[in-house]
Amino acid sequence: MAPRLADYKTGVHNDWCPGCGDFGILNAIQMSLAEMGVARHEAAIFSGIGCSGKTAHFVNVTGIHTLHGRVLPFAQGAALANPGMRIVAVGGDGDGLGIGAGHFVAAGRRNVNMAYIIFDNGVYGLTKGQASPTLKLGTKTKSLPSPNVNYNVNPVGLAVTSGFTFVARAYSYDVRQLKEVIKAAIAHEGLAFVDVLSPCPTYNDVNTRDWYAGEGTGGDGAERHSRIYRLEDTGYDPVVHFAGAAELDEKLGQALARSLEWGERIPTGVFYRNETVTPYGGRIRDQIRNYAENPPALQAIESGGRAITDVSPMLDDLRA
């Protein structure tokens, strides 16, 4: 029986604020799993702490709601121990790019096969609206006593620089594109990152749904345009095809250049995609030949309560 969308929804009450952009992301994740036909027991959502972190309880696959900033270590550990699972990590922008930024950079270098989705609302939602790392310098949301004193982190740029092999941005109110991007991220061989712009109507009164829709871009007339545009509509090609130095420079360069666009025109879609880089699981196959077939989580270690690993070669090495 083909899985239906409803199968991926739990009965847990969703207590996000009305109008929260996160609903769109949640739906897109559930739809992606359903459309890809991922069996419920073969997927797991790992999440950080924040409004966004509750996502793990709303999707009806195994859900691991970790600690603030720690979703990537937990998720990578599981993905490495059982590479047969589909692991999707999710979390807030504060979670992933503030307290978790060190893990973000390190995860990029590792390129473990899984997807990571950041719910990017510019604020620390669950702790009542402090500035998150993606909020622009000088911005004053209604929840701040004075304008933000920090420069913003550039999630797409940081991901590209850190070695993520799939880097995309989407918008929570464009669920169609979002879903396609998430599916591509899950299907990607290696570590995929999706930065989802997700309005927080409760605390971020600057980057609102209206703002994204074009408020302030030039009167109410025809000049007014959605700030969001899709990279794929511009003929942008994010894919690294040959992995020569020149091509790599070009693809990285264009991704970084586009990642700096903000304000009047905000690109969404896949910025960078490189499957010529071997994922971590492949890199360790030099050390562990049967890693894929007999990964850590599935190995037999005992028989009738007795250890069956043969340590005699090691003990022989130590013979007095």
Binding site: I49, T66, P295, A300
Partner: protein, 639 residues
Amino acid sequence: MAGGVDVSWLVGGPQGSGVESAAGIFAGACASMGYHVFGKREFYSNIKGEHSYFVVRASSSEIRSNVSGADVMVAYDAETMLRHYADVRGGTIIYDAAMEKAMIGDVATMDENYAARLGAELAAAGRPGGVEGAVAAAREAGTAVHAVSFRAILSSLADEAGNPKLRGMTRMFNVIGAALSMGALGVPRDVTLGAIRRAFAAKPEVARLNEMAASRAYSTAESELGGMRCALAPLGGPREGTMLAQGYHGTAIGKIAAGCRFQSYYPITPASDESVYLESHVELGVSGGRPGSTLVVQCEDEISAIGMAIGSSIAGARSSTCTSGPGFSLMAECLGWAGINEVPLVITLYQRSGPATGLPTRHGQDDLLFAVHAGHGEFPRIVYASGDVEESFYDTARCFNYADVYQVPVIHMMDKYLASTILTCSRFEPSRVSIDRGKLLTGRAGSDYRRFALGGDGISERARLGVEGAEFWCTGDEHDEAGHITEDPVMRVEMMRKRLSREGLALRAIPDAEQATLHGGGKIAIVSWGSTKGPILDALEEVRAGGGPEMRFVQVKMLHPFPTSYVAHLLEGATTIVDVEANYTGQLGALLARNLGREPDHYILKYTGRAMTSTELAGALRRVADGTAGEREVLTYGA
């Protein structure tokens, strides 16, 4: 050890000069002759140049510790001479003649404070403030001191071999020094050469050159050094079933045998050796099954290390991480997550001297109470300590069983003393390792699977990732039976009880003998934990041999939950309780006071960063026995 042989051999030189391999060769040779060997390395937090030394004791009887002082010393540099000459009272010192004229001020690596103390000491005795003064002092103390030109040996070797390049191979000085002393000690030449061959087994050409150099040194020893006051004749070949192990082999091979298949770590002294060992033994033979493997991941920090290990444990692999104090401090938050989510996990904690960076390459047992209390909030855990390397092999497997059966994080306390020892012990017996994964669910689940189902003994079935029908949830928030967030006060109370009652369960179910061990008997009772076991057992023998009273030793292995009634039982009838620990505050004493309502009468403590010798410990115990000991006896032996 009456009538037997018992030799303490000290080798020292700058870090990077091969002190460790020299000690390995000596220890290997002694072990191959049938001796019991116990050795320990001291070194600075430095890569090259600072003073490093190794004391190896070889004995015809069982030994488990170092003694104060040395019988034979090989000094590669002036600093070794200046730091240790007084340790060798009545024994033999062999040193490289090249340093003969060195003064204290020439030794740039020497700690200002020690330099000042030594200068004052030599000056007070009217001796020159340098190697000459040290030599004179040693001789006056009855020590035979031999200056040998290591360079001359290399030169004659080069001449002999017709290979002038050998003149420059000063990195063989370490083997030359070792061979000089071994020759003088009467170790048969072929035994020494065999030990060298084994030590350099991976590099046959290096082995060959070193054997040649050693042979040259042997000739010099025979012609110039004469016989030594103690001799190391073969006792009849290696003892059956004996290994020459390094400290970390116990937990490393223990993990492999116990089925740990995932280890994440961040490098830190003295913990990384274990991970490095696992990294070089990744693929594993499995009897009756496909080859297995340990996935070892070097992480970006210790938070990631414990986070990954938790993720992997949730996936179903026996998982662990290994660290030292600073790394463990960073793990406190994730530890609590493992606690509230009932995740089995083993954290091997190789302690060193704290606080902060502290003495990063020195010994300490100062993380006990932190391990017991680490992490905000209240959650179950087991803290377990091994007393020696052999124990640590079996204990590692126990720790994984406790983790799986009680679904709790287990902190396995080890330390730098254990990590940096080399010793002979009985070959580990993997057949004695049983594996109990507790209520791990790997097959299809029944309907309505709930990871944190209440009821029964409070331990619920734990599914690994990927089991059909057993999807589950975890959260660091308080949760309901399914694992979803709840703030319901009634559920809160039930879940707290579910988790914390596990400590009592473990206390009742784990056999007494695994919780604490009684050695000997007597009215004076020593209580201790961890690596003090060796010095204590040896000191007890020494006290008794010297006509002192029998004493009993209660070794507490399970530190949390605390085996209050069993320890109380083992202490019954004791009139004096003596707490022995390598820390300042007497942390086990605090646990005794809290749990037994009985504060130890005496504390014998050491916190110089150097492990206790049985000699100094025996001294303190004698003072306890004869009533002259203070409440706190602070030991300080060792450079």
